[in-house]
């Protein structure tokens, strides 16, 4: 009897325990989203006077080329980050799990370290790396005798988006590495021993044992990565401010500028709802495809 009540608390207890967080979540996340959805129906420049305009703001999103372009930029960033963050994290995690690597705690700490820095700090560090006159990148190029490649990096419209993705990858690779390492640690070592007896090498072990065994964790990582990149703002705000022109404009940046630089609060609100829906669609479809793919293999 007593044992039972220990393992299974009453549903009332659940509710009471959860209540504080639910209340906080409701007022910090849920209410603002509903309000943004509501404001999206108005022509509103901030302040008291609002004009109801129905779905005009929401429909306007479909014909807004700049919004489309920033969505494409988000997708491009997401793609680079999935490959860069999770791909590298997988490689690093596999290496740290192998017996060949020395000083594992050191490597682990150093790789995770950027994750604890604030985005503004990361932005400034990389601004210094890309700096035209004193930047690390240009200095190295000059030292290596490749001064023909020296350029004001973030001024290059074609490369700017790729360049701002590198700090993002650098910062979060450690985060995914820790998640993947813990999931790899959960794999029964006997499986690896068996495989080694059968003659499997490092790459084959990673491809045919580790990867299938941690695929659920990988799907979670991809989801987190997409969610993170759909709302990316602060790194880009610090490094380029969306420029040059609109080369590194992302959806969150555009929504911010629409609301607080162009004073179109109503349209900005509609846009944030648009970002929410688009993110849900992208995450949902990726998850669907990934789970389908992994199931088919079995």
């Amino acid at each position: 009897m007593q044992n039972n009540s220990m393992t299974k608390p009453k549903s009332m207890t659940f509710v009471l325990y959860l209540l504080p967080s639910i209340l906080l979540y409701t007022f910090i996340v849920f209410v603002p989203i509903v309000l943004a959805g509501y404001y999206g129906f108005f022509d509103w420049s901030g302040g008291v006077s609002k004009t109801f305009i129905g779905f005009q703001n929401y429909l306007g999103l479909f014909s807004d080329d700049e919004f489309k372009k920033s969505f494409v930029n988000n997708i491009y960033l997401t793609f680079l980050c999935i490959v860069g963050q999770i791909g590298l994290a997988f490689v690093f995690a596999a290496m740290l799990n192998s017996k060949l690597i020395k000083f594992k705690p050191f490597h682990r700490t150093m790789t995770y370290f950027p994750s604890i820095l604030s985005a503004v700090v990361i932005g400034f560090i990389w601004n210094m790396i890309y700096d035209y006159n004193y930047g690390f990148l240009n200095t190295m190029l000059t030292k290596l005798g490749m001064s023909q490649y020296v350029q004001p990096w973030l001024n290059n419209e074609k490369m700017a988006l790729t360049l701002v993705s590198i700090p993002l990858i650098w910062q979060f690779v450690g985060y995914y590495m820790i998640i993947l390492m813990s999931s790899m640690a959960a794999i029964d070592p006997q499986i690896f021993e068996m495989a080694e007896i059968d003659g499997a090498t490092g790459w084959k072990k990673a491809r045919y044992i580790t990867l299938p065994m941690i695929k659920n964790t990988l799907i979670v990582c991809v989801t987190l990565c997409i969610a993170g990149n759909m709302k990316v703002f602060d790194h880009i705000y610090v490094m380029t401010g969306g420029g040059p022109g609109d080369a590194t404009n992302v959806m969150a940046m555009y929504a911010y500028k629409t609301s607080f630089v162009s004073y179109k609060m109503g349209y900005g609100s509609a846009m944030s709802i648009g970002i929410l829906i688009l993110s849900l669609i992208v995450i949902g479809s990726t998850r669907y495809v990934l789970t389908r793919l992994s199931r088919e293999k079995e």
Partner: protein, 449 residues
């Protein structure tokens, strides 16, 4: 036993949640509580004057001087200030405006007035200005950007000139020019000579997107289009269009300058202060900035550079409609008052505003910093000021002012223009495309009115 443990932990968690809530209201209560103790009255003010930068910011220094004077005269009025960097300030005050919670007194940019007035966030100041005995000392047109439907909504905090050419006379002399050229052919020739010597012809930091537009295009554009065109754009009456040949030509000129390598290569990825460093350290021969640069250079330039710095305005253009002895200027930022104030508090704040930004302010700006101020102040002796300041005062005697684009045009139009200019100067879009994009935004805004 287990039951009581459970009960205790539940109680604790509820208490914790409760204390979280209590914390929130508690801390809020104390800040407002300390200000409103019976004997003391409180005025809240938001601005972008950072106290640590007083010595390189003439406006800021004058603001603090006036504030100290007011505090001395009114020791029982508590002034609560919120000060932050200018771009942060713009974000914060816009967010406050969105929820209608304005401080009592706050800085307002010229282009915000339409929005703030239509949202009833800001109070008209005509009644205090009309009864002010020194009203006539204010310069003509200084309230232009703060006037909506004939009413004035803000007191001018500055007499701002946004486009001035600061050039290193010695460096220009070295390549054969006694003074800054009065025609563009010479400028392009000089750009070539400077580049051959490894000197940046013009330092520009356009990462924040406004410098190229506010400090160069505002004046250059007027050379081509004339001021009537700009006024029509500001009024949104549809007569003038950004796609007009004259404006497209101005954009074209800007692109040509960039193509000729007139600017430092990283002009789109650094802010204006790092760009000023090029000039201050003698790596660049010229910089085009606003009047604020005088204080900045005095503080930061090497003595050699400072000694050789001279001031000029952009040269006229062939076939331009604008006058050659003008540059972009006026008042960009105003001090406004919340519309929510009533009764005695309103009276108190009105008095505060006038004692801050009345004639005394201008007198302080003029006598302490030697700068032209919102009110006309006659200076008998300017010789005590640095040479650069004297040169500026002399130049301003003969220079007329034209509207500053980003102070008077709509925010969304300016945003499109600023982004477009970055692409234009990078060479990724041509002048016609950029002009068309700006006009599309202007059409959207005009349709709404």
């Amino acid at each position: 036993m287990k039951k009581t443990q459970k009960a205790i932990s539940l109680l604790l968690s509820v208490l914790m949640a409760g204390s979280l809530g209590a914390c929130g209201t508690g801390s809020q209560g104390s800040t407002s509580g300390s200000g409103t103790s019976e004997a003391k009255q409180e005025i809240t003010i938001s601005h972008y004057y950072i106290e640590e930068q007083r010595n390189q910011d003439a406006d800021g220094d004058s603001f603090y001087a006036m504030l100290e004077k007011y505090q001395k005269a009114h020791p029982n009025v508590k002034i609560t200030q919120t000060a932050m960097d200018q771009s942060d300030y713009a974000t914060k005050i816009q967010a406050q405006a969105a929820v209608g919670e304005m401080p009592d007194v706050f800085l307002v940019k010229g282009s915000w007035f339409n929005n703030f007035v239509s949202n009833k966030l800001i109070a008209p100041l005509n009644e205090i200005l009309d009864s002010y005995d020194k009203k006539d000392t204010y310069r003509d047109g200084i309230f232009d950007a703060a006037t909506v439907d004939g009413k004035i909504y803000g007191l001018s905090t500055q007499f701002s000139v946004t486009s001035l050419v600061f050039y290193n006379a010695k460096m220009w002399k070295d390549i054969g020019y006694d003074k800054f050229p009065d025609n563009w052919n010479d400028i392009y020739a000089a750009i070539k000579k400077f580049n051959a010597k490894g000197i940046t012809p013009i330092a520009l930091g356009n990462k924040d997107k406004w410098p190229a537009e506010s400090c160069i295009l505002s004046a250059l554009g007027d050379r081509y289009t004339g001021t009537d065109w700009t006024k029509s754009i500001i009024k949104k009456d549809g007569t003038a269009k950004f796609t007009d040949t004259s404006f497209v030509n101005a954009l074209d000129q800007l692109q040509k300058l960039s193509k000729a390598k007139a600017f430092n290569a990283d002009f789109n990825s650094i802010q204006n202060n790092p760009a000023d460093e090029y000039y201050c350290s003698g790596k660049a021969a010229t910089t085009i900035e606003g009047f604020w640069e005088i204080a900045y250079l005095t503080e930061n330039a090497t003595p050699d550079v400072l000694k050789n710095t001279k001031i000029a305005i952009l040269p006229p253009v062939d076939g331009g409609k604008g006058s050659a002895d003008s540059t972009s200027g006026g008042c960009g930022w105003f001090m406004g008052m919340s519309n929510a104030l009533t009764g005695e508090k309103k009276k108190l704040v009105q008095d505060f505003l006038l004692s801050m930004y009345g004639y005394d302010y201008s007198e302080y700006v003029a006598t302490e910093h030697g700068l032209p101020a919102p009110c006309n102040v006659k200076l008998d002796d300017v010789s005590k000021f640095p040479q650069l300041t004297q040169d500026y005062l002399k130049l301003m005697e003969t220079t007329k002012l034209t509207p500053i684009y980003d102070i008077q045009m709509e925010g969304s139009v300016i945003e499109t223009m600023n982004s477009g200019i970055q692409q234009l100067m990078n060479g990724s879009k041509d002048a016609k495309t950029v002009a068309a994009a700006i006009q599309t935004e202007q059409d959207k805004v005009a349709k709404k009115k």
